[in-house]
Amino acid sequence: MTAFIFRRALLSIPTLIFISFISFVIIQLPPGDFVTAYAAQLRQSGEYLSAAQEAMLREQFGLNDPMLVQYWRWITNIVFRGDFGFSLEWNAPVSTLIWDRLGLTLAISSLSLVFTWLIAIPVGVYSATRQYSFFDHLFTIFGFLGKGTPDFLLALVLMWIGFAYLHIDVGGLFSPQYQNAPWSLDKVINLLTHLWIPLVVLATGGAAGLIRVMRANMLDELGKPYVETAYAQGLSERQVVWNYPVRVALNPFISTVGWSLPALFSGDVITAVVLNLPTTGPLLLKALQTQDMYLAGSFILILSVFTVIGTLVSDILLAWFDPRIRYA
């Protein structure tokens, strides 16, 4: 098992390197560079940089070096010093801007992952064991609707419902009066009335797909002889279903956790923009709009790294969960 984890972890290193490289390319992609952007910013406040000053700055930041050298400087700064570069827009180091937002993104994403599972597993099992029943059809329709509805549209609609029919304050994580208030029960309740929309939005998209996966897996497994064996032992339907086929059908499920993370992060970015949540989404969008590339690149890098880690964890979980892989 240790050897397996070690080997699997080793395999993800090239992926990580590749990801960092792509992120760096994205940072470099817009025309102009850091100094051009800096000069443009100064111009807005009425200051001007002479061509000589610009050249000097370029020399100072090493912007004339070959791209690989710049990449190496950028990545070593991140790995060894936690220095992600400088955000011109915010006039602050990137590292001071991103961490609490990332934390919130992670928190919301993992909460919605849990939420997704809580919906998808029982519904998928139900749909498979009561195939073609009324509720199976209903869940199927919901599943397709969930898959077909863009996250931001669902967020908009839920916001509208909350605002126009439930008369609750929507958008953001807190109502204004709680924004800076110390923690209290009311504040937590206030948080929950705001949090349900992003959770529902993110969980619906994921659950819609997973319900289909779970249902298909379960239908496959329910037809297998070991299920009949289990019935022949005198176990009740509930015992049979939850102990045997569900246990097997969960395997491919676990292996897809890694894949659902990118979707969750993507969903979070766009939902947060609509709902104005203080997660990575709005900041990333703003950074891209203002071409604040160090900030944007860092977000893309870190989100991707988390995805790789998530995939790694799900692979290890799968090996721990499925004896056929563990002993293969």
Binding site: L145, L153, W160, A263, V269, I270, L288, A296, I300
Partner: protein, 376 residues
């Protein structure tokens, strides 16, 4: 007595005979027809595609023309009876009032003016793809001031239905073009991967895993944001579809690769090889035909991904930009709560997105089931 056949009705025999000699695509079509939802979806998409193609004809008004006096007008109700008398489909005129307190404009029906809806109506003239000039529209009302706005108007008084039709052209074609790009990439890399196997397969697999492990929307955003704002809308459109395809090809490649692996080991491929068929002949005559139906199904399922991607990017302002009209661009108008609660009909492009994506999913599912030779 020995070979006594069991008497069976002649008709059943004929049907069976028919089934045995049917060509593969006939069988696929026969199975497909049993999928009611898929067939309905197919019709929906055909009608939608035709409307998008002939948007100028279907749309009653110019999608860019402002109407200062009809801003945020609600959808026009269509009536059939006027004061208990049958008139046929018609609309009433609109009365515009400004609330003295809130300064908000409200519209009420003017029950005096009856405006019958005319089909094949001659309205504003347009140029159809630069091919010819026409002023023929599917429907309209004959009045200088009044309009029929099936889905209301936006905050500049533009007819939302007309914009939706023109947006369909951009959004659907972006989806199709994106899928074609992705298809070329996916088919090429997927079949190379599946046919040669070995380290080539390994490398392509790693690349696919890598692309799948990056959250798509941030990556799209990152790439799209690098496009200069000043670029020509057509170039932006092409680049955006390319960006969508660059990330979307992996799924197709996986399908192709999986099929290649499965079919490569089929006995009939081995038989062809033993019979001395060349590699080229095996791939083109034996393997690709067996895969086409799966590939078509996978392509159909890939279109909605592209449409959702375009919509999301444009919605965020990083994809297509006005004056280009796409469903994502249209949804930008519905970005804040105030406009939605004031004019919920601005969400109609969203409904169009959902319906279209659903239709593609149903169609793709139906095709996939029909393509499975062992399916019911």
């Amino acid at each position: 007595m020995t070979d006594q056949a069991l008497p069976a009705p002649a008709a059943a025999d004929a049907a069976k005979e028919n089934l045995y000699t049917a060509r593969p695509w006939q069988l696929v079509w026969r199975r497909f027809r049993k999928h009611v939802l898929a067939v309905v979806s197919l019709w929906f998409l055909i009608i939608l595609a035709l409307s998008a193609l002939f948007a100028e004809f279907v749309a009653p008004y110019d999608p860019f023309k402002f109407e200062r006096l009809r801003t945020l007008a609600p959808p026009t109700a269509i009536h059939i009876f006027h004061e208990g008398r049958f008139v046929g489909p018609f609309v009433y005129g609109l009365e515009r009032e400004r609330d003295a307190d809130t300064a908000r404009v409200t519209f009420t029906e003017d029950r005096e003016t009856v405006l019958p809806i005319q089909f094949l109506y001659r309205g504003h003239s347009y140029s159809f793809f630069g091919l010819f000039q026409s002023d023929l529209h599917l429907f309209g009302v004959d009045d200088r001031r009044e309009q029929v706005n099936l889905l209301g108007t936006d905050n500049l008084g533009r007819d939302v239905f007309s914009r939706l039709m023109h947006g369909a052209r951009v959004t659907l074609s972006a989806g199709l073009v994106g899928v074609i790009f992705a298809f070329v990439l996916g088919l090429a890399l997927g079949s190379i991967s599946g046919y040669f196997g070995g380290w080539i397969d390994g490398a392509i697999q790693r690349l696919m895993e890598f692309i799948r492990s990056i959250p798509t929307i941030p990556l799209w955003m990152g790439l799209a944001a690098a496009l200069p704002i000043a670029w020509d809308p057509i170039i932006v459109y092409v680049i955006i579809t390319l960006i969508l395809a660059l990330i979307g090809w992996t799924h197709l490649a996986r399908v192709v690769r999986g099929q290649f692996f499965a079919i490569r080991n089929e006995d009939y491929v081995l038989a062809a090889r033993l019979a001395g068929a060349s590699e080229y002949r095996i791939i083109t005559r034996h393997m690709l035909p067996a895969m086409t139906s799966y590939i078509i199904a996978a392509l159909t399922l890939a279109v909605p991904e592209m449409i959702l991607g375009e919509t999301a990017l444009s919605f965020l302002g990083l994809g297509l930009r006005p004056p280009v009209v796409s469903w994502g661009v249209l949804l930008q108008d519905a970005q804040n709560l105030r406009s939605i609660s004031l004019a919920p009909w601005l969400l109609s492009p969203g409904v169009a997105v959902v319906l279209t994506v659903l239709a593609f999913n149903f169609l793709g599912d139906g095709l996939r089931d029909a393509a499975d030779p062992y399916g019911q």
